[in-house]
């Protein structure tokens, strides 16, 4: 194991961490508002394929990025329409949208498999900063998506915990009738949150096809949407802890392809179980602690709100 391969490992950790973080932030925002979105995997796939196809058509990575976000947000809004407007079961709707999103993405992208990317996001040029040993390549030669993830994390934290809007969003997720009685539109908040969440999942998908592995293949999302869902629990619905979790889970993803180069005899299949094992242990810790205090999960998560219902 030499220095270059170690730097490569950490560089990949940050990249994968940012990929997971974008999707997990979106999931966290939706869950904070009370909507469980199990469609992340499908939304990521839609973002990935839309980004790639639009890049092929336009040759402009930023146009492709915006289209990917819009695609994710649209699927998010669809989830919102089912669960908020129609009051459908959130788990069922989310799972259906994962299946729908994966299928639709495969259909849309069927002509693009194996094609070279129409456009790529170039790594941000930080000038002399990228020459710093270790930190340079790991932190200052990354794709714009990585910095987007960092900014999105700070903005999410600030909005949710330091603004009136955030207070209303969290109230909608903790006790919808309270938010309603205080004059906030629960339906509006939840629709907006699930759309923003879908948009972030779309951005995460676009990171795959516009930057990380700039090509389209069916199944390219490869279960990372599910890791994002687990990550929200692992991070106890707090942006900072979710970020730590994203790096940790990102490390397992980065290690998976490198274990053999490092000469470590450990099954990559077992390694990919690690995020879920960690999440289950966090769940256990949460439920033990919850005997004396409320769980960190939003109390109204997964519960449809209708004003008249007793």
């Amino acid at each position: 194991m030499n220095e270059a391969s170690l730097i490569g490992l950490f560089e990949a950790t940050v990249s994968f961490g940012a990929l997971l973080y974008l999707a997990a932030l979106g999931e966290m925002i939706a869950e904070k508002a009370g909507i469980l979105n199990l469609g992340v995997e499908g939304m990521m796939a839609m973002g990935a394929v839309t980004g790639f196809v639009v890049a092929l058509q336009t040759g402009n990575p930023w146009v492709a990025f915006v289209a990917a976000v819009a695609a994710g947000a649209s699927v998010g809004l669809l989830h919102g329409f089912f669960t908020v407007v129609l009051g459908a079961e959130q788990v069922v709707s989310g799972l259906s949208l994962t299946i729908l999103g994966l299928g639709l993405a495969a259909f849309v992208g069927r002509g693009s498999v194996g094609q070279p990317a129409g456009a790529e996001m170039v790594p941000v040029d930080w000038g002399p900063l990228s020459d710093i040993p270790w930190a340079g390549p790991i932190l200052f030669a990354q794709s714009p998506f990585v910095y987007l993830a960092v900014i999105a994390g700070f903005v999410t934290w600030f909005v949710l915990w330091r603004t009136r809007l955030g207070l209303a969003v969290r109230a909608a997720g903790e006790s919808a009738s309270t938010a309603d009685a205080a004059g906030h539109s629960v339906a509006g908040i939840r629709l907006a949150a699930v759309a923003v969440g879908g948009g972030l999942a779309g951005a995460s998908g676009a990171y795959l096809t516009l930057s990380l592995t700039p090509q389209w293949a069916d199944g390219i999302v490869a279960g990372r949407g599910w890791i994002a869902v687990a990550l929200v629990i692992f991070g106890a619905w707090r942006p900072g802890r979710v970020a730590v979790g994203a790096l940790l889970f990102g490390l397992t993803l980065a290690l998976k392809t490198r274990l053999q180069t490092f000469g470590v005899d450990f099954s990559p299949i077992l390694l990919s179980m690690l995020p879920y094992l960690l999440t289950i242990s966090v769940l256990v810790v949460i439920s033990i602690r919850s005997r004396n205090r409320p769980s960190p999960a939003p109390a109204a998560l997964g519960i449809a709100y209708r004003r008249e219902e007793r």
């Binding site: 330091r162 109230a171 205080a182 004059g183």
Partner: protein, 531 residues
């Protein structure tokens, strides 16, 4: 998302009439000829209400009299089918609670609208604050507002840590923060201890002196005579007495207006010869939901043909006692004997088979399943008897349910519909009926009449007395001292997880019982010994 009606911070009571005070003072609230119909029910049939500014006004009525509907009309939750809502003489058509708040009408609901994981301050300002929330500034503003009205509160505590009384203060603060000049409280004392209720009375007086108008919904007469200025009585959706001066009336007159001609207070039923011990609890120790000691070596015994009443301030282990006897709470030490057998570790099903009828404090949830049908709820204990092979015999179950509904006078819709639409009194009749229909040998009833109207209370009390006369041993846990003194053959007082005193309900003085309830019993009054 709607913008808050006005910027951060509390403001004083604003005068909407403006300019000079009108020569004839307009009522702060005027509801004229309100009609509100729901499918199959007319909740308000021409109800009216006039409330003087700066007064505490009681709205009285039994369950189903239309009080809550009328208040929901006033607070913008419901839109009336007909009628007029006037605030300070100006007609309003509220479409949402936010509209009503903008006109100065705030409501404190019976079920609190609070976010448990938020702090007090966050809950208070949820409806109206600046775009960027600065916690220290918000907390000191909330503290200042609380101080103005004598409401003791810590703004940075999360609400889940607060007692019911403290949570209610947060609810009141929320309305004051939005500058509600007219405050509606829906049965505010139902969740309070007697001491907290008195404190609330003082706070309401304080607010009325500040020029605010309080509308106080209740069916507890001593509170109405204790801290209200005027009272309006509703019956069957209509106003039967408007703005009576409380000073010129008394509790029995108000009670008469509420119920029409039916009896209010049950006569003490003649005592019956007590038989053998059916329920015996020895040195029982249990923890509450938070893991703190709730029962600390409790002893009691109930004989056949006897009602033993347990009085106490809420939260002294009554709930855990009932659960431990029913088999729903882990017993750490001590024993529970049912009909002579040790059943300390028996399952609830085993205890039911022994002849234990259990009427839990939580009617919905523990007692009944709200989404199941009337029939399903009726056979929840005995479904094993209504079967054909491995399947439920629907005809037999429905027949059993129909018998039960007829015998216990449950007013219900179709038997295969969920019970969620039944009124509180009918839910309780169904539950009590299910537990009593088999002729239990021991009955444990926890707060069986709480929240019921006068007729409902009477029906449940009669059933309990009927079971006693049929030879059952009845343990009646209640917070209503009148009920206990009327029904109980022996009256025990519970404090800090133990029985601290016993009284003869016929001769005991209320004062002495009250002292025992707050833990000041010097020695147990040995009127009848343990048996």
């Amino acid at each position: 998302m709607t913008e808050p009606s006005h910027p951060i911070g509390p403001t004083g009571p604003s005068e909407t009439s403006g300019g000079d005070a009108p020569s004839v003072e307009l009522p702060a609230v005027e509801l004229r000829d309100i009609w509100k119909r729901f499918p199959g029910v007319v909740a308000n049939a021409g109800a009216s209400l006039r409330v003087r500014r700066g007064s505490v006004h009681a709205v009285l009525g039994e369950n189903g009299a239309g009080k809550s509907t009328l208040m929901n009309v006033l607070s913008g939750v419901y839109r009336p089918d007909e009628g007029e809502v006037r605030i300070d003489g100006v007609a309003h058509h509220f479409r949402t609670p936010a509209d009503a708040l903008a006109a100065g009408v705030g409501m404190v609901h019976q079920e609190f609208r609070l976010v448990p994981s938020f702090t007090v301050a966050e809950n208070v300002v949820l409806g109206a604050c600046e775009r960027i929330v600065r916690r220290p500034a918000v907390e000191s503003a909330v503290e200042a507002l609380a101080g103005r009205f004598g409401l003791a509160i810590e703004p940075d505590r999360p609400v889940w840590q607060l007692s019911m009384g403290e949570r209610q203060r947060v609810e009141i603060l929320k309305a004051l923060w939005r500058d509600a000049r007219i405050l509606i409280l829906d049965e505010p004392t139902a969740v309070l201890t007697p001491g907290e209720a008195d404190e609330l009375g003082a706070v309401l007086r304080h607010m009325a002196d500040d020029g605010r108008t309080i509308v106080f919904i209740s069916h507890k007469l001593h509170e109405v005579t204790g801290f209200c200025d005027e009272a309006t009585v509703l019956r069957g959706g209509k106003t039967v007495a408007a703005s009576l001066s409380v000073a010129d009336t008394d509790a029995s007159e108000l009670a008469g207006l509420m119920v029409g001609a039916s009896p209010v207070i049950t006569e003490r039923p003649p005592a019956r010869e007590a038989g053998e011990i059916r329920l015996q609890v020895r040195d029982l120790r249990c923890s509450d939901d938070r893991g703190l000691p709730a029962l600390n070596g409790l002893d009691l015994a109930v004989r056949s043909g006897q009602i033993v009443g347990v009085a106490g301030v809420a939260g002294n282990g009554q709930r855990e006692l009932a659960q431990a006897i029913a088999g729903l709470r882990h017993v750490e030490s001590g024993t529970v004997h049912l009909v002579g057998e040790d059943r300390t570790d028996a399952t609830p099903r085993q205890r039911f088979a022994d002849g234990l009828g259990y009427i839990p404090e939580d009617r919905i949830g523990v007692g009944l399943a709200p989404r199941l049908s009337v029939t399903d709820n009726a056979v929840l204990r005995t479904y094993g008897r209504h079967r054909r092979g491995p399947f439920l015999d629907a005809a037999s179950a429905t027949g059993h349910c129909r018998d039960l509904v007829d015998r216990f006078g449950v007013r219900t819709g179709p038997l295969d519909e969920p019970i969620a639409g039944l009124s509180g009194g009918n839910l309780q009749r169904l539950l009590v009926g299910r537990e009593l229909v088999g002729g239990p040998r021991v009955v444990v009833a926890a707060q069986p009449t709480r929240g019921l109207d006068v007729q409902g209370v009477k029906a449940i009390q009669d059933l309990l007395v009927g079971e006693r006369d049929a030879g059952a041993a009845v343990l009646l846990i209640s917070e209503d001292l009148d009920e206990l003194s009327t029904l109980a053959d022996r009256l025990l007082v519970m404090h800090a997880g133990r029985i601290v005193a016993e009284f003869d309900p016929v001769t005991a003085e209320r004062h002495a019982i009250g002292e025992a309830m707050i833990g000041h019993a010097e020695t147990a009054d040995d009127t009848g010994g343990d048996q």
